[in-house]
Symmetry: C2
Subunit: 261 residues, 2 copies
């Protein structure tokens, strides 16, 4: 039997809220078995870019990353956020190491190619090198991943954290019975965005297609759900979307939206 | 026989100069055997603090690190500088991982205690956990260390890079025949600060005491030399101080100042 691995993606709004982050980390620390946390960026990068007067441009929720913005996101994600989380987990007794996709070159990526838009220093994932991740987990550590990767030219690339979580879950499910949690500030996938009690308890790919056709999925949820379905189709054991403050219940099956193949 | 390990500390002025850094990394990549690079901060942190209007205070060359300055140095050292170096080394074929003392909690430190001065979030090293470093090196990776550590309360601490290099060299010399190189922008320890040809080829502790008595050591060199003598006294095989652009010659014994027990 394969050992269990829990991968938790934690969204930016949780990162911005010190109390919520602390509570999420306490729940994460209590998870048994191997575990890995992928964090997003939060507002700190946007705020820092503003303070430095670097104009920011977002297309479909994706940040256009020029060279100055790349410095900002690398500093904030791989520097402050990643190391703050690692230090807190260590102090809680959960020995952790923080990495980007560049460290040990665990994630190979390339600069995004798009027919008419230059996203700048934005990466799309080509490959995950699981052997180092596997060895690091075997050493008894939790791994905290910041959403920065690199290409063959040695360029750092800003990379979507939801996608990184999905790619890691897919690749590591060869070694582990893997659960992937997308945790954010909502109770799950909602039928009505303004009603937190309208959580859809489970969605399969057929329901997903139907909901999309009826335009019942909030546009911000689409990439997350696409990642979730990609993961489950590729052999990830469980994929659950829900509230970061319900992490323990999400793992127990008592909350959130469960993605079904 | 113990395997060989080369630890290179690279100073801030080299980090600030893209061409010099690139040349240093090419030389570092060509070193055979296990290797580890410790980098300082450079002017980027000072510049960023200025841009963010965070007042900076230096006492005896040490930065007083308030909470805002801690964010700046963690972002710059552990974020941008560390990951840029790692990505460049990977692209050169030298598989590398970047860490701080918090990652895997490889360096335990405490907030500096001083009779009358509060240095803020500045760390002094208590202990190096060599087993993870050893395992990471055995995995075939070079390790790139940013000068940030953490204490038992989960606080990140700004920590002197020369000291980190010395502490790592000391601790790892139990497993490896270790060479420690302090590389910076000078040819070595100079008799005359303004004459690059006045390099002292070797200094033993007696000569060092004599030179200090005569005030012939530039004050900026004193902590570096103290670290160098601490390392050599504790069993580090070779300690050499010299120009980052002479890295290969420093290792061959053809340049720099050799520290002798």
């Amino acid at each position: 039997m394969k050992p269990t691995l829990t991968i938790v993606k934690v969204g930016g709004n949780i990162i911005d809220d010190e109390a919520k982050l602390q509570s999420l980390l306490i729940s994460f620390a209590s998870i048994s078995g191997y575990k890995l946390l992928v964090h997003g960026g939060g507002k700190m990068a946007t705020r820092l870019a503003e303070q430095l007067q670097i104009p920011q441009q977002l297309v479909d929720g994706r940040r256009i990353t020029d060279s100055e913005t790349l410095k900002v996101v690398t500093m904030v994600y791989a520097g402050w956020i990643n190391k703050s989380i690692v230090a807190k987990l260590n102090a809680m007794g959960t020995r952790s190491m923080g990495v980007t996709g560049a460290d040990g070159w665990i994630i190979e990526s390339h600069k995004r190619i798009h027919p008419f838009l230059d996203f700048g220093y934005v990466g799309d994932v080509d490959n995950v090198n699981t052997s180092l991740l596997h060895a690091w987990l075997e050493q008894g550590q939790s791994i905290v991943v910041a959403p920065i990767t690199q290409d063959r030219e040695g360029r750092l690339l800003n990379t979507n954290a939801d996608t990184i979580a999905q790619e890691l879950a897919k690749a590591l499910s060869a070694h582990y019975t893997t659960t992937l949690i997308y945790s954010f500030e909502k109770k799950g996938v909602l039928r009505d965005l303004h009603d937190e009690s309208s959580v859809i308890p489970s969605i399969d790919s057929e329901t997903y297609s139907a909901l999309k056709k009826e335009n019942l999925i909030h546009s911000g949820m689409l990439p997350k759900l696409d990642n979730a379905f990609t993961a489950i189709a590729a052999g990830v054991n469980k994929v659950i979307i829900g509230d970061a403050s319900d992490l323990t219940q999400l793992l127990n099956g008592g909350a959130g939206t469960h993605i079904i193949h």
